[in-house]
């Protein structure tokens, strides 16, 4: 397997796996309940600093909650959104891309215009408007990301499908009596899987950021769920007294997104597919 020899793929995969483990094992790893308030120990610095408490390795926030525990539990929301939302967006976007690229004609025109309409909105604005309508909650965040980001898959995959569908072996399959369904699933889809995997990995990073953004503005996870974006919003209030409470979630988002980006970037190189550059 060529991808496994790329340093980026390995580094990315290790980071993503580590964050995923943190999310899965959060109840066992966390030293405290993430919502437990210790009002005597507010705004403690990390354990290695003067005044730190070994009980709270990364210190506490303004309500005396353990930053490390909140970080670990925040990883659950982040990974849940990243995995489910990007798979959903990939499913919707690639289905439409196969339909548009393979059938062409009016289907292609219709889907192309839909993409145009979607692309005329900055993604942040569109997801904000959607969240106004849907209300807060992790499930709605996932739904909003799928509704906003399917175009990323559709745009890039469609042009790839058009190229693949014109290749000789696809015509050969049609001539030997394959139906449309069988041609697409057996001949076209396998040729586009590398691109799909790459896009999926990059989209997971984007989903983490979008979830953090929405939670930061107060439109993401519900108030009783722990999310990194919320921790940032809370930490911003106490930026002078407790900068680490702000730093910890910022660092967590950065590391997670970097993991997904390294993975996607490495896959793109090793699987050698054409890729349109661009980000939110």
């Amino acid at each position: 397997m060529r991808p496994l020899r790329s340093g980026r793929v390995i580094a990315g995969a290790v980071i993503v796996a580590a964050v995923l483990m943190c999310a899965l094992l959060a109840p066992h790893l966390a030293p405290h309940d993430p919502d437990d308030q210790n009002l005597i120990a507010q705004l403690l610095p990390p354990a290695w600093q003067v005044g730190g408490d070994a009980d709270y390795p990364l210190g506490t926030d303004g309500l005396g909650r353990c930053v490390l525990s909140r970080l670990l539990f925040g990883a659950r929301v982040a990974m849940e959104v990243a995995l489910i939302a990007s798979l959903g967006a990939a499913l919707v976007g690639s289905l439409l891309a196969y339909v548009a690229g393979y059938l062409g004609g009016w289907a292609d025109w219709l889907i192309g215009r839909a993409v145009d309409v979607w692309m005329s909105f900055p993604p942040v604005i569109l997801s904000l408007i959607l969240m106004t309508g849907l209300g807060t909650g992790v499930r709605n965040v996932i739904f909003a990301i799928v509704l906003v980001d399917w175009t990323r898959f559709c745009r890039v995959l469609r042009s790839e499908v058009i190229v693949v569908a014109r290749r000789d072996y696809v015509s050969a399959a049609r001539l030997s009596g394959f139906g449309h369904w069988r041609t697409v699933t057996r001949e076209v889809v396998p040729a586009t899987v590398p691109l799909l995997v790459t896009l999926l990995s990059l989209e997971m990073g984007i989903a983490v950021v979008v979830e953090a953004v929405l939670s930061f503005v107060g439109l993401g996870a519900r108030a009783d769920q722990v999310a990194w974006g919320q921790m940032i919003a809370d930490g911003r209030q106490a930026i002078y007294q407790a900068p680490w409470a702000l730093f910890a979630p910022v660092l967590a988002i950065f590391v997670t997104v970097a993991g997904f980006n390294l993975l996607g970037d490495g896959l793109r190189r090793t699987l050698d597919v054409r890729m349109v550059e661009g980000r939110e």
Partner: protein
């Protein structure tokens, strides 16, 4: 050129129409009642019902849209439910601030992107290339709001070197001519106002620009690498031209086109990113207006601001297409 611009602008009209319809429908099916929101809490159900029919909310959705479109055509985009002011006024007051921020950020992103792309290209084939390339991947993982928070922390809190709230020092008078603060400061000839406005703009613009620079770096580098495979570069080299001249006069001209397309897309996305940066820096622009409206479920504002962002993106796309034709002689003759 003008013809192409006009044609592009015409294709934007149906998109805008569809977007306005979608926005209207999406915001009307919300479980929020604008009539109840615009009344004092002590209003009776009958009073709210009267308000509903006065606002036309009891009519079919499409008819409501027709009414809205007709009023919009006459320049009436409705009243804010919360602030009780015409929405058009609110948007016109905040739009210049957002444009100022976005343009400044785009300048930062372009300067960093072109500089970084050239630097990365100059490193090709050396051992440092891999490290530099990985660095761009890592930089791409820092979204604008993380830069914004980081800058506040480093320059605002640790060094206390730069201000990080608002557009202008509270003690200074705010000149109000065009709404573009930098321009206004020059127009009234106040150096201190200009200086203060610039100091307030540095951090948000840098945060936003830095986040959008890495993709530009990558596209410029990869299209330069492509271009250098072409025969005319070898030809130029055989003619004895210096490397610098080949890069500036021959390679960059062609490599700039894919970068320009990307920058057009980026500029549109940048307006979306400016929303967060505005919120973090309490910068009084469109983004803060939008977030406040979302929190108060102020539908007329959400609708109008959404539409404004959409117009901005479409306008940028049209301009970039026009610029593309100007810069690419292959497209000009047709």
């Amino acid at each position: 050129m003008l013809l192409i611009l006009a044609r592009r602008a015409l294709t934007a009209v149906p998109i805008l129409f569809v977007v306005s319809l979608m926005l209207f429908v999406a915001l009307r099916v919300l479980p929020v009642d604008p009539a109840a929101m615009s009344m004092p809490p002590s209003a009776t159900l009958a009073e709210i019902d009267a308000m509903r029919s006065q606002m036309g909310l009891d009519r079919p959705l499409l008819e409501q849209y027709g009414i809205w479109l007709n009023q919009a055509a006459h320049g009436d985009f409705g009243q804010s439910l919360h602030l009780r002011r015409p929405v058009l006024r609110l948007v016109a007051d905040t739009l210049p601030a957002t444009i100022e921020l976005a343009v400044a950020a785009m300048l930062v992103a372009s300067a960093l992107g072109v500089g970084g792309g050239l630097a990365l290209f100059a490193l090709r084939g050396r051992r440092a290339e891999l490290a530099a390339e990985s660095a761009t991947t890592v930089l791409m993982s820092v979204p604008e709001f993380l830069w914004a928070l980081l800058f506040i922390f480093v320059f605002g809190v640790l060094l206390q070197a730069l201000p990080f709230t608002g557009r202008l020092d509270a003690s200074l008078p705010r000149p109000d001519i065009t709404g573009f603060l930098l321009l206004d400061a020059v127009l009234v000839g106040r150096v201190d106002v200009l200086w203060s406005a610039l100091a307030h703009l540095v951090l948000p613009a840098a945060a936003l620009g830095l986040a959008f620079a890495p993709p530009i770096v990558r596209v410029l580098r990869s299209s330069l690498l492509d271009v250098y495979h072409d025969d005319y570069i070898r030809q130029a080299r055989l003619r004895g031209l210096s490397e610098g001249r080949i890069l500036c006069r021959h390679a960059l001209k062609n490599a700039a086109l894919p970068m320009l397309t990307l920058m057009g897309v980026q500029f549109g996305f940048l307006f979306g990113g400016s929303l967060l940066v505005e919120v973090i820096y309490s910068y009084p622009g469109l983004g803060n207006l939008m977030v406040d409206a979302v929190r108060n479920a102020d539908l007329p504002i959400i609708q109008m601001v959404g539409l404004t962002y959409c117009v901005l993106v479409l306008a940028i796309n049209t301009l970039v297409d026009g610029l593309y034709v100007v810069l690419n002689p292959k497209l000009r003759r047709r």
